[in-house]
């Protein structure tokens, strides 16, 4: 593992290698070298399986952190090893190289992330089609600045007959209506 960490750092400038478990490590790579690094891991280092792909909205740092989980099934006599590659993309211009030519199924993840985070993967098949949110017109809803209540208010009609009560006011009406303001 140390060898892989060193070599990945030398070739692609990766940093922050962290062994989370004996069979799971994570590492950070610059976005510009991400595609090459993934290709090298797949073709040369046995990480043939893309098992997961997601993003995290690190709004405080102004980036989305993309996370690719690769798996080397042969490692350690078939016990396997997973490697999570993190790469930050600028939140104001979230465009990332598509990896659908490395792993065919990646287009599904990328379409999902386009819809939920607004991260674009130019060239990825059907990336602009709806994924699960039929008829969605609001901003991408997994972004942390998405205001769920404002969206609901703007999008859905108020159900007629709904009325709520403030506990303090209601108790005053019921228990001491004579008190003056």
């Amino acid at each position: 593992m140390i060898k892989l960490a060193t070599e990945l750092a030398a070739r692609y400038g990766s940093r922050g290698w962290h062994n989370q478990r004996p069979d799971l490590a994570s590492v950070q790579i610059d976005l510009s070298r991400l595609h090459d690094a993934l290709a090298w891991l797949k073709d040369n280092m046995g990480y043939t399986h893309l098992s997961f792909m997601t993003a995290i909205d690190n709004i405080e740092r102004g980036v989305f952190t993309l996370t690719y989980t690769l798996r080397n099934h042969a490692w350690n006599d078939g016990k396997g090893h997973s490697l999570m590659i993190h790469a930050d993309v600028d939140r104001s211009k979230p465009e990332v190289d598509s990896i659908h030519r490395l792993w065919g199924q990646a287009w599904t993840y990328q379409r999902e992330m386009k819809e939920w985070y607004g991260i674009d993967f130019p060239g990825s098949p059907r990336v602009d089609e709806e994924f699960v949110l039929e008829g969605w017109e609001g901003p991408p809803m997994m972004r942390r600045d998405f205001d769920s209540l404002a969206y609901s208010d703007a999008t859905y009609a108020e159900r007629p007959g709904r009325v709520s009560h403030d506990p303090e006011t209601y108790m005053k009406e019921k228990l001491y209506p004579e008190a003056e303001a």
Binding site: S148, L149, S152, R162, S164, P167, E168, Y170, Y176
Partner: protein
């Protein structure tokens, strides 16, 4: 053509007898996962209707609605959350935040109906098939969005405290107060339980935001004794606080917000010299004059609000200083005199005049006031201590608890001796016991019922015991006898009968019944009777036009007696017998007098 292409269509048949992934409803069930976030459930008996679920809901899916079977009371608004599943996004924040822990989610997720209006209901009130579901989402153990424990109040160690009259409770720092204020969810359930209906969420918000002048302004809207009440209030609000309605992981109740200490924090932090910047000044004089009898919290509260409205106020006080029971009945380790003086100084700064050493009936009569004043407020309190009412209770070593506390206030020598018995279970008894402890005595507190039956505040009982008082419960006084042996003239022997508690009538509190033969005798240097006080209404003459029933002036809801221009309040008429109730009485009477003067009422 490849042979594989020929066989392929038949290959799917190998799955024909496997269990399908689809569900054959209603023959097969497919329950939600054990912690699935399905339809809501609510334990309506535990829910306090605080609306924190509604406040946190990101989609406004929750309304608080009245429930016919529930009446609002102390700590329960009588409202319950209703969920609109057209908006709910199943995030479960409502479950995670719920202060009482009553709200949960079942793992039921199937509900089919043609009428869209039904997908809105009040869990725990409208019966649903998933009510009482064992499975489903609950707040995970150890996961709390609300702080369960209040910020510890720095206090003197009990061994240290008993050596002097230094104030026990030292008050919050800014950091502590803001942290404690952060625990409040601003539900407002507490406001109804406060006799003065103070704007509790408002002044806690002011603490949180560091705007103490705004806090002070809100305090004075309903209570001109924030320094005193910030220390000795009976804090019914804290019993009603929704934050105290939950259970910690170990099953103990969660701590209510320290509302009283936050009130004290505001008043302590603003200097008297700065009060004028925050608080309103009196309106232009109206020419109306009001006489107030008794400068206790009730009388002075009435004086404050009358003065604010521009009415001239004269307070007649029999003692040499103002404050009533706050000064003469509460020891300075609970309410230091400078704090009380600060409250009173602001009231007198509005032009309230206090005439000291004027006793009603002796120096002044009601009739003489009728001519000189447009209205009168009676707040003379309960000044006559009840006797033990046993043979020998006139023995010179039998003392009166309130008189002992007043003597301590005046700095007079108490002369209690080394062994002291205090008879009674109220706050006066606890304070007399603790005052005796501070004068170096060994103290027994003799009470006729059990400790749980004591009317004193639990913290006073706890502190009296921590400071070294010995509690002798279930002891019925029988007799006070002259002592025997050396120095007998300065001692008395107290005789009591141990009792067992007997449930005589179902639903009523048990009654102490003497155990035959279980008679105890003990000789004391002093026996302090603190079993309650009654009013002294000897100043009310028959011709004064004030109807008195059961030793109290009869009053209407606004405090008015049977004579239109005479009002009464405080301990004299109020069964709660605490400062905040007296203050509320005074405020109410002041507003009623103002209406009277404006001719809005005859």
């Amino acid at each position: 053509m490849d042979i594989k292409d020929f066989i392929a269509p038949f290959a799917v048949w190998k799955r024909a007898f496997e269990k399908p992934f689809t569900v054959n409803k209603p023959i097969d069930e497919r329950p939600g996962a054990p912690r699935y976030r399905g339809f809501h459930i609510n334990d309506s008996a535990r829910c306090v209707g605080c609306g924190t679920c509604e406040a946190i809901c990101m989609n406004k899916a929750i309304d608080l609605v009245p429930v016919d079977a529930l009446k609002p009371d102390g700590g329960d608004s009588g409202l319950r959350p209703r969920v609109d599943y057209g908006r709910c996004c199943w995030c479960a924040l409502c479950v995670d935040i719920c202060p009482s822990g009553s709200l949960g989610m079942s793992n039921e997720y199937l509900w089919v109906d043609r009428d869209p209006e039904v997908f809105r209901y009040t869990p725990g009130v409208e019966a649903k098939p998933w009510d009482g579901a064992e499975l489903g989402y609950r707040r995970a153990d150890g996961y709390r969005l609300l702080e369960e424990e209040r910020v510890d109040m720095p206090e003197l160690d009990h061994h240290e405290a008993v050596k002097s009259f230094l104030e026990l409770v030292r008050g919050y720092s800014r950091q502590q107060a803001e942290k404690e204020a952060d625990r409040c969810v601003s539900c407002g359930v507490c406001v109804a339980s406060c006799p003065a209906h103070m704007d509790i969420p408002g002044y806690i918000r002011a603490v949180r935001e560091g705007d103490l002048e705004q806090g002070l302004r809100l305090l004075y809207e309903t209570n001109p004794f924030p320094e005193a009440c910030g220390r000795i209030c009976t804090h019914l609000c804290e019993a009603a606080c929704s934050i105290g309605s939950g259970r910690s992981a170990d099953g103990t109740p969660t701590d209510p917000v320290a509302i009283r200490w936050l009130k004290r924090y505001i008043a302590d932090q603003v200097e008297l010299a700065d009060y004028g910047k925050a608080l309103p000044r009196a309106e232009a004089p109206t020419g109306r004059k009001v006489a107030i009898i008794g400068a206790g919290p009730g009388g002075l509260a009435a004086a404050y609000y009358l003065a604010l409205l521009g009415h001239g106020v004269t307070v007649f006080e029999k003692d040499e200083a103002a404050g009533g029971m706050l000064r003469y009945g509460i020891p300075e380790y609970r309410l230091p005199y400078p704090a009380l003086d600060k409250d009173i100084a602001w009231i007198t700064s509005l032009g309230v005049r206090i005439r000291y050493g004027v006793a009603m009936g002796k120096d002044l009569t009601l009739v003489s006031l009728y001519g000189d004043y447009d209205a009168v407020f009676l707040s003379t309190g309960l000044t006559v201590a009840y006797k033990l009412d046993v043979p020998g209770d006139k023995h010179p070593r039998v003392l009166d608890g309130v008189a002992i506390l007043a003597a301590a206030t005046r700095g007079e020598p108490l002369g209690l001796g080394r062994k002291v018995a205090v008879v009674g279970g109220g706050n006066v008894a606890m304070d007399a016991a603790r005052t005796a402890l501070r004068s170096g005595a060994e103290v027994d507190i003799v009470y006729r019922r059990r400790e749980v039956d004591m009317p004193a505040d639990p913290e006073e009982i706890m502190e009296a015991k921590a400071e070294g008082a010995i509690l002798i419960p279930q002891a019925i006084p029988l007799e006070v006898k002259p002592a025997e042996g050396p120095d007998a003239a300065n001692k008395a022997t107290f005789v009591w009968n141990l009792a067992e508690m007997v449930q005589k009538e179902p639903g009523k509190r048990p009654v102490p019944e003497p155990i035959p033969g279980a008679v105890v005798e003990k000789t004391y240097d002093s026996i302090i009777a603190a079993i309650g006080q009654g009013p002294d209404l000897s100043y009310v003459a028959e011709g004064d036009g004030i109807e008195i029933r059961r030793y109290k002036p009869v009053i209407g809801p606004d405090g008015r007696t049977s004579r239109a221009t005479v009002f009464a309040g405080g301990d004299l008429t109020n069964d709660r017998k605490d400062a905040i109730s007296a203050i509320a009485d005074g405020h109410r009477a002041a507003l009623a007098m103002d209406r009277l003067f404006a001719g809005k009422e005859a």
